[in-house]
């Protein structure tokens, strides 16, 4: 029969449970400690560390008390336990109160921390938003700066491009204000007008427009149309020579709609015009030459017949008779006509000629030997500047002599009125295998309107009876037949003295033995 319920299970559970409690409490505290060490800034882990510490202290105090009690009682030392028991219970109570205190009061700290953290979070958020806004602003600023830089670079490139276009243009480009003063002009413009940049400061249109009417036209068209396209004008260079330009301009308008200036581009057409004139003259001379040749052939035959019959008739009449004298006049005039015809043939290069090496210096020496005395009588001095190296050309010496006689005679006539002057004869072995001969006088020169006509057959400014107008035509034909060119300058542009009155004929003939020599390369300059 059972006398009671055994308490052994309760004792066993007490012993095992106490031991297990010590282990679990200690392990929990260790994990909490490692947690708080890993993240020391986390207040919650700190809280759990203190809570587990208090629980461990409580549990250990309790469990140890229980174990001591059980073992003392098992060992039969109950009296010892009765002595210890109040202390064990006291500590147990103390730690239990501590656990509760830590749990509650420390938790309040956690709440305070949470509140602080919450506020800190808000501040953090505000900071983050501020940072984001600042970053956004910075980005915007950077983007703006970048855009400004890009735009500035583009503008700079564009400015460079247009500045280069302005400065490197071979045509004249300039800006002028409403008072027709030049504000800015490129180097080509100054070069075209013969000014240095510093000289050109304050230049006005009236300083270089040859015709004041041109300025009026310029202003009127800009004012009416706002632009000018291909206006043919003459500009005056600083040395007084005129150049032809083709001008285009665009008006610049101010904010109030009024014209404040214009941008102008002018192209120098002087050389082009000369070339066009030369081409036209060349074509004209060619056609005249053909016509002259035809006429000469046709007239030569009847002239020969007239001369033959007149000479035959002269045999039928006694010398000194009226009929004989009349026949002599016919013979003389027929011969004069034949000479003209012969000259025409020379001009048209239809007459025969020999070909041999000719020293131009010698030719000129021959010519001067004949003419110098006459020139001296007219107070004309002759200066020679002959090439030291013999200027040899292949040609007909007689015909070349005729050319220089013509030129010297013309120079003589040009200086008769002024009662004297100077003739400068110059020869040189020029570039590209040419021989250059210059005959220059200090006479009255040739009027600009006549310059294009001087090589025309029968063109003369001399009084009737003093010239046939064939001298220069024949010279032109001869030089052309020699594969050379003849050009005229009047007035003369002297490198030292600038523009001076007079006329300069410049002949270029192919040098003998030069490989690049062209036997017949007709070209003519006027």
């Amino acid at each position: 029969m059972i006398a009671g319920i055994p308490l052994f299970p309760a004792i066993l559970v007490d012993i095992i449970g106490s031991a297990a409690n010590i282990a679990f409490a200690f392990l929990a505290w260790r994990h909490a400690r490692s947690l708080s060490r890993r993240q020391p800034g986390n207040f919650v882990w700190g809280y759990l560390f203190y809570v587990t510490f208090a629980i461990a202290a409580f549990t250990i105090s309790r469990a140890v008390g229980h174990l001591v009690k059980q073992f003392l009682l098992i060992a039969g030392h109950a009296e010892v336990w009765y002595v210890i028991s109040p202390y064990s219970g006291g500590f147990n109570t103390l730690f239990m109160i501590s656990v509760a205190a830590v749990m509650i009061f420390y938790h309040k700290g956690v709440q305070a921390y949470e509140a602080l953290e919450n506020e800190a979070g808000k501040l953090k958020n505000a900071n983050r938003e501020l940072e984001a806004a600042a970053t956004q602003l910075q980005n915007l600023n950077q983007t703006l700066e970048q855009k400004v830089e890009e735009r500035t670079e583009e503008l700079s490139q564009s400015e460079k491009k247009f500045r280069h276009l302005f400065s490197a243009s071979k045509d004249m480009v300039f800006f002028c204000d409403s008072a027709n003063r030049v504000v800015d002009m490129n180097d080509s413009g100054f070069e075209m007008l013969g000014y240095r940049r510093e000289e050109g400061t304050g230049l006005a249109l009236m300083d270089f427009f040859t015709d004041p009417a041109g300025i009026d036209e310029f202003c009127r068209r800009l004012s009416d149309d706002g632009y000018i396209k291909d206006l043919d004008l003459g500009f005056l260079r600083s040395d007084g020579t005129a150049i032809s330009v083709l001008l285009s301009a665009t008006a610049i308008f101010g904010e109030d709609g009024g014209m404040i200036g214009a941008e102008v581009i002018a192209k120098d057409l002087t050389k082009l015009k000369i070339m066009m004139e030369q081409l036209a003259a060349s074509e004209k001379m060619a056609s005249i030459g053909q016509m002259a040749a035809g006429v000469a052939h046709e007239i030569n035959t009847p002239l020969g017949i007239i001369l033959g019959y007149s000479q035959l008739l002269m045999d039928d009449f006694a010398e000194g008779s009226e009929a004989y004298q009349s026949l002599q006049v016919i013979e003389r005039q027929t011969k004069a006509s034949r000479k003209i015809v012969a000259d025409l043939l020379k001009f048209s290069r239809q007459s025969g000629s020999s070909r041999e090496d000719v020293n131009i210096n010698d030719i000129l020496g021959d010519v001067m030997a004949v003419t110098e005395h006459t020139l001296g009588l007219s107070h004309i001095q002759v200066r020679r500047d002959l090439a030291a190296e013999k200027p040899i050309v292949v040609g007909d010496a007689e015909k070349l002599r005729q050319v220089f006689v013509n030129l010297i005679t013309n120079a003589h006539h040009a200086m008769l009125e002024q009662g004297g002057g100077e003739i400068l004869i110059r020869t040189a072995n020029g570039e590209n295998g040419t021989v250059m001969v210059e005959v220059r006088d200090s006479g009255h020169g040739i009027a600009e309107k006549n310059l294009a006509k001087i090589f025309d057959p029968f063109f003369t400014t001399k009084p009737v009876g003093q010239g046939t107008g064939l001298g220069l035509s024949v010279s032109y034909g001869i030089i052309h037949a020699h594969g050379g060119t003849i050009e005229v300058e009047s007035p003369v542009h002297d490198p030292q003295r600038g523009t001076v009155a007079g006329t300069l004929f410049r002949i270029r003939l192919p040098q003998s033995g030069y490989e690049g020599q062209q036997a017949d390369s007709p070209a003519m300059s006027v």
Partner: protein
């Protein structure tokens, strides 16, 4: 600060405290604390502990912490609160147990709760097995701390704090 207090003064301050702890039966206090005061204080401590655990449980649930660690901690709170209740009742049951209700004639390990076993006796017997509650409670505390520790180690802080 401590170094500013002379050793002699420290002994003077600590002596009464040690005397109170070591010789509490004859505590030299103005008010006497004898009799059942110890039990009352202990029982009040259980109530305070229970209240603190309830507060913690309420706060964890209120805060809405997620994660296994917080779940384990809630279980610890529940079990520990239950244990506090058991212990509280157990102390009263032990005090109410009459002398001679337990026989240790055959030794302490063969002690018997003598028949007839009344309701009070059963309460005593059941509450004597309180480790069946407190040990799992501490086990859950260990699990909770381990879970937090592992989560922190892998930078996954539970509860999101």
């Amino acid at each position: 600060m401590e170094s500013m207090i002379p050793a002699f003064s420290r002994i003077l301050i600590l002596t009464p405290i040690l005397s109170l702890i070591l010789f509490c039966q004859d505590a030299w206090a103005l008010q006497t604390h004898g009799g059942s005061e110890g039990v009352v204080v202990h029982q009040l401590a259980h109530i305070q502990y229970l209240g603190a655990l309830g507060y913690l449980l309420w706060d964890i649930r209120r805060s809405g912490f997620a994660g296994v660690g917080w779940l384990y901690l809630q279980r610890f709170c529940w079990l520990m609160m239950i244990w506090n209740g058991i212990a509280f009742v157990g102390h009263f049951a032990q005090m109410a147990l009459p002398d001679g209700a337990i026989s240790t004639e055959d030794g302490y390990l063969s002690a018997l709760l003598l028949l007839p076993v009344s309701f009070g006796h059963w309460i005593y017997y059941v509450t004597a097995l309180d480790h069946l509650v407190i040990t799992p409670a501490l086990f859950f505390l260990f699990l909770a701390m381990r879970s937090f520790s592992r989560a922190a180690a892998s930078d996954k802080v539970e509860g999101g704090r």
